[in-house]
Symmetry: C2
Subunit: 480 residues, 2 copies
Amino acid sequence: MARANEHGVTPQSEDFSAWYNELVVKAELADRGPVRGTMVIRPYGYRIWELLQAELDERIKATGHENAYFPLFIPESHLAREADHVEGFAPELAVVTQAGGHELEERLVVRPTSETVIGEMFSRWITSYRDLPLRINQWANVVRWELRPRLFLRTTEFLWQEGHTAHATEAEAVAEAMTALRLYEEVARDVAAMPVVAGDKTPSERFAGALRTLTLETLVRDGRALQAATSHFFGTNFSRAFDITFATADGTLEWCQTTSWGMSTRMVGGVIMTHGDDKGLILPPRLAPYQVVVVPIGRGPELGRSIDAARSLAAELEPAGVRVRVDERDHLSPGFKFNEWELRGVPLRLELGPRDLAAGTVTVAERLGGEKQAVRREEAVAAVLARLDAIQAALLERATRFRDERTRVVDTFDELVDAVAAGFALAPHCGDASCEAKIQEVTSATPRCVPLDAPAEEGHCVACGKPAAYGRRVYFARAY
Amino acid sequence: MARANEHGVTPQSEDFSAWYNELVVKAELADRGPVRGTMVIRPYGYRIWELLQAELDERIKATGHENAYFPLFIPESHLAREADHVEGFAPELAVVTQAGGHELEERLVVRPTSETVIGEMFSRWITSYRDLPLRINQWANVVRWELRPRLFLRTTEFLWQEGHTAHATEAEAVAEAMTALRLYEEVARDVAAMPVVAGDKTPSERFAGALRTLTLETLVRDGRALQAATSHFFGTNFSRAFDITFATADGTLEWCQTTSWGMSTRMVGGVIMTHGDDKGLILPPRLAPYQVVVVPIGRGPELGRSIDAARSLAAELEPAGVRVRVDERDHLSPGFKFNEWELRGVPLRLELGPRDLAAGTVTVAERLGGEKQAVRREEAVAAVLARLDAIQAALLERATRFRDERTRVVDTFDELVDAVAAGFALAPHCGDASCEAKIQEVTSATPRCVPLDAPAEEGHCVACGKPAAYGRRVYFARAY
């Protein structure tokens, strides 16, 4: 067993998995619920989700989607209408068999995703080309029974948004799926400071029922990939199963082309794993519940003056849009507080003590490290704003550098084995499921995606030597 | 059967119930889901909920509460720990008995409310007086199996927020329950334009497990009462059941005092029933998805100029904070559009046609009625802002007048029978459940609340003649 350091968690460098599990609980992000696999998202963790939600919701609305809400319960027979879909989700379903004191005539599935119930409603709402495109988003909880649950990453119940759209043409539906992916990419990069690779899933990794699954893949600090969001093009698979048709301008009846796309509370796990270090969390300023913590220092009447000064500084930071907390707890030492806020990932700490007050300064410490610095009090607000921007940029740069250092272009099976032990392998791949199975058996790695933004390149499959498919290299990695 | 009028719904004055049921669907607020009793909230209805949510969430946070999220599934044995609570909810539970392809060892209840799962977590999180007060809020879906479902008012699944708090003293917990009630009262009055009576439930009407249930009661246009929100003081009932204790400053162990309080999507039904008329919905501006609809008028090139003018007007209204929609649909007549937006309750309609353009004016029509008026184009934005404020105030005034006209002070049983046929009766009541049962049997009316803000008054029970309890008159009404 690795030993917890002074911050109270096993160092990341010693045991990544123990570090993550302990940190999520110690930092008060989440707790295990009473039912196995369920999660309680505590206020500190939920605030991160709320900040992410707000950024995402704004962009979803700005691109012409409207929010709605669909029922939690789906008749079991509905789910069965799309054959691939039910096959994919059947092992993960929770089923209500009793309600209102009686055995139900038809069993109800707790939604694992909402294509089927939304498909049913789309078929009622859409009659003519004038009703298209129909672009709906839902914020909701979904349930997928997990055998190996892990807080945020894989929980029996999780929170997400799921966009569902219907279109008159295939081209428009594919463009919609791409719009959603690019919107997620922007949020991952600009808000979560998470560099992602955008690409297509190979057939074996597609969503149940999809013709095309687009994905964002990121690399976390133990060298594994994490899927940050997905976007699916269904063609007419669901519209045929749920009878979603429209009359064209000249009166003929056609099937709609549909899509769906989602991002979930899993992203919070991704943020933890992308930025954290041995001391604990490091939160990107744009997702930090507190961007700044102010710790007043001193004893007796000196402490009183420090607290007054801290409050007055906070009162200037708040109207400037800074999320700030003054830590006035009187039973804890400054050192204890420093450790605690480092563990909890607050990007910037301000210290205010008698020496600062005498000198007219504020002491600034960055969570990312470096020497503490004294900043003139009258320049404190401007300095905080500038540093928060700089930290946001530095985190993205640091994560991008890490990802790039751990991405290797490989041409042989042995090179691939080495590469996926540390991160991404970019390899030529023939596209056969049997080669994917062979790679997974030897390395645990799977194809993460066929990148959208990559140069065209021919080659020979790293596993079988046959000509490569897709016209470009494929990302492989061990994945969460 | 009443006949639908030119707006497409049965007039409210002919059949209130048919009016409501038709209107909810016709105005595209909600639809029935595939499972009996479930509801699909369509974008227009969901936007009303989002606007209400934002107002409520802001006030919940401003009063020191933090959002969190707790699991949907509760072990059946947990729910049973508080005897009154399980007895109250048992008939309404939906139960998951299978998951992940297997029969579950312990059955899981889909939360009907979250006191039990939150109580379990509070007992883990609270150890000392320093952890108090703990003030948490959750936005979530809950499930209560309904035998007579009705969209928004009573659905098998609904959306709500539930606040849950723990305190060191009874006085503080009671004050918290009161804070929540006053916050709801403010939202009902200032946002939903809904006049409410704040009061205590009599023992027979309390929440299962509560020592005190505070409620907001409003009167809708068919003379029935509607409960808009409730707030509960539990004393130590839940902390004893879930072992929620804290060490005081001097080290003794005590039970926490807890509260919970909730407002739900039922409020959307309340808004419809409070303000609507024969023509359809009337939405208070602060909850209207579109506060203003602009209808361009004309044919051929004239129509093109009207559309340009409408867009440019909308482009001025939006930055002023007005939610505006330009109705550019080219296959519908202006008259059809007028009717549709009246049905859907948009507070203000602007018409822009060739005559308006020539005269430099905009034609303004209010949903509440009155003559159309021409407003100078350069004054249009200011006029819209002023009118929206005036409409918001007028709706509250209109609803208050309606409520007051339908509230009668009564001293005899016969007077009570008459009064509750039309609205509220304010009657002396001895407090006995047997008198409440007698009143309900004869009139269907139940005690709605003992008002908080009412003069002290003695008297004799309207049902049995014994001295009245509570020191003030009690509100009775038939209720939803």
